[in-house]
């Protein structure tokens, strides 16, 4: 479970907080999609859950562990897939997966890792090729395989389908849905309203560091979501 309690971040020299008293809960088996324009505080939220930055106030909890107090323990329970999954170009997809699995403290035999790459949708002929030749979508799939290998309880995604072709984006959405059904808590930051509607169980819209609105995915249609988003966007501007 992911939980933000009055989570606040003000960067040095900034006039207002990038994130202002954010409160949200993402229980197991839920996909919470955060929408919002650039500068709304979405990526700041992700960075706080990963403790890449320190909160000014409040807490980011991963399964009850405060990420600021014990970042390694919190990170061990959560997987992170950014817009561009950064891997080691000289290593193959399988070697990258093996490496990230090992350093996370997990153990998995080679056959399992191969199965995970396949499960994440990476073509088998790419397993042993250096990652430097991978497309963005292929890298995302290795990122998912890493999350699967680690058997984490929560997943944080930052613009995961940005730049993916429609087929790859659709495959990715299906993958997220399967993870959700598997009981994973997913926090996804995206600009993509359709992806949010497709994957999310809850959808939040952020503006100027605040969580302005929260909808149940079943409570709003595409058009209503777009209208609410544009309305908030216009007000924020």
């Amino acid at each position: 479970m992911l939980e933000a309690r009055n989570l606040t971040k003000t960067y040095d020299g900034a006039d207002w907080p990038a994130l202002d008293r954010l409160n949200l809960i993402v229980p197991a088996g839920e996909v919470f999609c955060l929408l919002g324009p650039n500068g709304a505080g979405k990526t700041t939220t992700v960075n706080l859950f990963l403790n890449f930055i320190q909160p000014t106030a409040g807490q980011a909890l991963v399964c009850g562990i405060d990420a600021a107090v014990d970042p390694s323990a919190a990170r061990a329970l959560l997987a992170y897939i950014p817009e561009q999954v950064m891997l080691y170009g000289a290593l193959t997809g399988l070697e990258n997966l093996q490496y990230f699995t090992e350093i996370s403290g997990a153990e998995a035999p080679r056959d399992t890792l191969l199965s995970l790459l396949a499960a994440a949708g990476l073509p088998s002929d790419a397993f042993q090729r250096p990652v430097r030749g991978y497309s963005k979508g292929m890298r995302q799939k290795v990122g998912v395989a890493i999350a699967l290998a680690r058997r984490v309880q929560a997943l944080v995604l930052d613009e995961p389908t940005s730049g993916l072709d429609p087929l790859a984006a659709n495959e990715f959405a299906a993958l997220i849905e399967r993870l959700r059904k598997d009981g994973m808590a997913v926090l996804m930051v995206t600009h993509d309203l359709f992806l949010a509607k497709q994957c999310g169980t809850k959808i939040g819209i952020m503006a100027r560091g605040r969580l302005a609105s929260v909808f149940g995915a079943d409570d709003v249609d595409h058009l209503g979501l777009e209208r609410a988003y544009l309305d908030l966007f216009a007000r924020a501007a």
Binding site: L50, F52, I53, R75, P82, L87, T112, G121, I146, R150
Partner: protein, 492 residues
């Protein structure tokens, strides 16, 4: 898409997990290093350079050894081939004492090239050619001599820096650091893994040189004169010292890389330190040591001895000291004339004058060596910050080519000179009945050839405590700095 419902994965226990993390990071670093052909070629080039320097050192050492042995044989032949003459004239004829070449000079030539290797032994005078000021020459003065020590002291740290400067900053720039930390790996475990990889690379760099030096020693060491075990102990200490020196650079590179804004800043910072350590610090430390512990110039040193020697009588029979000694001797033997003495008075006077000289030489040369020791200590003290200042004296000491080894050789040569003086004076005392007395080849042969045995590794250890402490300090400070930097490691 395949089914995701996979069997739960076993999770390693924490202690085991930490070791696995370190091992995994080290293995990944090695794999990347190996696949980056540029670094592989660079390392191969440095290894080739080291082996070439070692081979050159071996050939050069063999040549020098052969020349010294030939010169020592020729000098001995000259000595024993002297015609019949007064023994004191033979003492003035003199002979050379050649310093046997330390086998490890093939790796580190030290000060040998600057202080000379032969001492001229003659009556009344302890020669000091072994104390030339060239011993204080900075590393720049040695650029012309591409020894294994020079490569390890100057070029190897540069290779370590090139391997390590982007360890963290490069990962931060490429985004992999964010990915790495996001999986829960602890920065200190990542640091340990990267350090393990870098130190492993250092051992891989050192191993060929170490094995090459061991083989060279095996074939080079004259086992009748030197202990092979002692030479291998020395080599082991040298290996450990160089490993500590380079491991410190590994930690420094990792620490700077973790703190720097980007790889370029890390590289510039590390190169600036490398320049300061390799070239600036030795020069400044030498100048500071000279300023705080000055040594006399050759002229001043010689003038000081001459001043004290003037108080002794030498060959001056009108000197008050000579007159007093004559009167004292006559009184001791209960006679009134020199001609009535049962022994040769001239021999007694020579021995007395020599003994007076010994005390003067011991005082002046001892003071000079004390000053050099103070300079050495001042130079080595900042070694915990600029480790070349600590490593170089250790390297020279255990290679047997430092000023202390030179002093020990000079002391041995002086002891031999005194043996010669005592022998010829005794011969005159007991066998010369008048000034026409001549000794023959049997006396020249009776005086043994100079046979210096260099002290063991314990001798070098005894006076290397300060630089050793400085080197250990350097390693500890670099490791603590790297840990500190790892604690502050941020992915963005």
């Amino acid at each position: 898409m395949s089914d995701l419902a996979l069997a739960p994965l076993a999770v390693a226990a924490p202690a085991k997990s930490r070791w696995r993390v370190m091992r995994a990071v080290a293995a990944k670093e090695w794999l990347e290093l190996f696949r980056d052909r540029r670094l592989v070629w660079l390392c191969a080039f440095v290894v080739a350079l080291m082996l070439a320097a070692l081979a050159f050192g071996y050939v050069e050492s063999a040549r020098i050894l052969s020349e010294r042995e030939a010169a020592a044989r020729a000098d001995r032949e000259l000595w024993v081939g002297q015609s019949a003459k007064n023994p004191h004239a033979a003492a003035h004829f003199g002979q050379y004492a050649f310093k046997p070449l330390s086998p490890l000079a093939l790796a580190d030539p030290g000060v040998d090239a600057y202080v000379g290797s032969a001492v001229w032994l003659e009556a009344h005078k302890q020669n000091e050619t072994q104390f030339k000021q060239a011993r204080d020459g900075g590393v720049g003065a040695r650029l012309g001599a591409l020894s294994l020590a020079f490569i390890l002291q100057t070029i190897a740290p540069l290779i370590v820096i090139l391997m390590g400067f982007a360890s963290f900053s490069g990962e931060r720039e490429s985004g992999t650091l964010k990915q790495l930390l996001s999986v829960g790996a602890r920065p200190r475990d990542i640091l340990a893994g990267k350090a393990l990889a870098l130190i492993g690379a250092i051992f891989a760099l050192l191993a060929p040189a170490f094995i090459g030096a061991a083989l060279a020693l095996f074939f080079f060491v004259d086992r009748e004169r030197l202990s092979l075990v002692d030479q291998f102990i020395r080599l082991g200490v040298l290996g450990a010292a160089y490993a500590a020196y380079l491991a410190g650079f590994a930690f420094l590179s990792l620490g700077v890389s973790a703190l720097a804004r980007n790889s370029r800043a890390a590289l510039v910072t590390l190169l600036a330190f490398w320049l300061a350590n390799s070239f600036l610090a030795p020069r400044l430390a030498t100048d500071a040591a000279r300023a705080f512990a000055p040594t006399p110039t050759w002229q001043e040193f010689r003038a000081g001895i001459a001043q004290d020697k003037a108080k002794t009588f030498g060959h001056d029979e009108s000197h008050p000291g000579f007159v007093a000694f004559r009167d004292e001797t006559l009184k001791k033997y209960g006679v009134t004339r020199i001609e009535d003495l049962p022994v040769n008075f001239r021999g007694l006077a020579l021995r007395k004058d020599d003994e007076s000289g010994y005390a003067i030489f011991d005082r002046h040369f001892g003071a000079l060596q004390t000053a050099f020791d103070r300079q050495d200590a001042l130079r080595a003290a900042p070694g915990f910050l600029f480790p070349l200042l600590a490593l170089r004296p250790i390297s020279m000491a255990f290679a047997g080519v430092d000023s202390r080894s030179q002093f020990d050789f000079a002391s041995g040569a002086e002891a031999h000179r005194r043996d010669i003086q005592n022998e010829v004076s005794d011969n005159i005392i007991h066998f010369a009945h008048d000034n026409t007395y001549l000794a023959g080849p049997e006396l020249w042969r009776k005086i043994a050839a100079f046979a210096y045995r260099a002290p063991g590794a314990g001798f070098a250890l005894g006076y290397s405590l300060l630089p050793t402490a400085a080197l250990v300090g350097w390693l500890a400070i670099a490791a603590v700095f790297a840990l500190f930097a790892a604690r502050r490691l941020r992915p963005v």
